[in-house]
Amino acid sequence: MDTRGEVLGVLDDVLSLKGRSASFRDDMTLMSGLPELDSMAVANVLTALEERFGFTIDDDEIDASTFETVGTLVEFVRRKRAA
């Protein structure tokens, strides 16, 4: 599985971006750059990541920096998958 591609796919699904995620660069800001990403959407993104990759995310593993940019979110998922 290509982690970056999968993460972008999850964002696209949950936020109904209709393919816009394909043009996202790693330094693109998520929390301040994507109006679709409110707290409920964050919860849904975490849920979708858990179900797609089969890992569990604890509250205290995530903070504002996790969703700072596309790159930080992909890196977070890479670390979870490697753990």
């Binding site: 999968e6 707290s39 919860a43 089969g54 509250d59 903070d63």
Partner: protein, 279 residues
């Protein structure tokens, strides 16, 4: 093929469950019990599952849909609901289907989302049950945390790590409090059962399994759980392009999922009949 539709109350232990039965006018090729999603996901999916049940009936399958106790128009309150009761409701529904179609057996189980957690104890008893799985929840503990996270999410922006974290919500359940999550009361007993529930295909499962997942991107890969299941048993897996109708804000339908399910079920029944003819 014309179909018949009946709505009725299915008597269960100390109550009654609202049920809808849809079947072909002619003899049914197979029977099927729907195991609905939980809570708001069931609500969001109602239009979709009704549409699918009609399609399956047109394809020759007699389909029974039941609201478990504490859900929809059935007796009881959601706060009194337990997985054990819902499994007992499902058993009563299966008994009804078998009585109605004594020569067609065993009934298919068609599970959506957390409905798979109800399927688990049923397939543990019978390895030849045919399964149709729609985006199944395989890990009850994770699912419970996801429910709690949705409740907690509202408070995240303002105060992080306060009394509304998922851990704090879980502790409130553990202390005996009933929590309202998305409009549905979840009791400590139901939370404990969910936490312990899993769905996995037993290695000895012999019945056909169709495992479908929905993604808005047509080229998405299957979940880790589906990939793992396909290693254990003969599982047909497929990703369908469409909206996540069980969680969307507006009521949505995924017609492609209905079409693919109908044709895969029909294909499976054809293959079973051919195998029977050879024997």
């Amino acid at each position: 093929m014309t179909i018949v539709q009946e709505a009725f109350y299915l008597p269960v232990d100390d109550g009654r469950c609202f049920a809808v039965y849809r079947a072909p006018h002619a003899d049914a090729r197979a029977t099927m019990l729907h195991l609905p999603a939980f809570g708001d996901e069931m609500n969001k999916a109602r239009a979709m599952t009704a549409c699918a049940a009609r399609a399956f009936a047109h394809a020759g399958v007699a389909v029974l849909q039941v609201d478990w106790e504490g859900c929809g128009d059935s007796s009881g309150e959601h706060r009194d609901a337990t997985l054990a009761r819902w499994v007992a409701n499902a058993r009563a529904a299966l008994t009804w289907l078998r009585a109605r179609h004594p020569d067609v057996s065993p009934p298919w189980l068609w599970a959506l989302r957390a409905g798979a957690l109800i399927a688990a104890p049923l397939i543990a008893q019978r390895s030849d049950v045919p399964l149709l799985l729609w985006q199944p929840v395989v890990n009850g503990k994770q699912y419970l945390m996801q429910l709690l996270r949705l409740k907690a999410a509202g408070a995240w922006a303002s105060a992080r790590g306060d009394a509304s974290s998922t851990k704090a919500l879980r502790a409130r359940l553990a202390s005996g409090e009933v929590l309202e999550i998305g409009g549905y009361d979840v009791s400590p007993a139901l939370a404990d059962e969910l936490e312990a529930a899993t769905f996995a295909l037993p290695v000895e499962h012999t019945g056909p399994v169709i495992w479908l997942e929905v993604s808005s991107s047509a080229h998405a890969s299957m979940s880790a759980a589906a990939t793992a299941a396909a290693h254990v048993a003969a599982v047909k897996t497929k990703t369908i392009a469409g909206p996540g109708f069980w969680q969307s804000v507006e009521i949505e339908r995924c017609d492609e999922l209905v079409a693919q399910s109908s044709s895969l079920v029909a294909e499976t029944l054809d293959a079973v009949r051919r195998a029977g003819a050879v024997l």
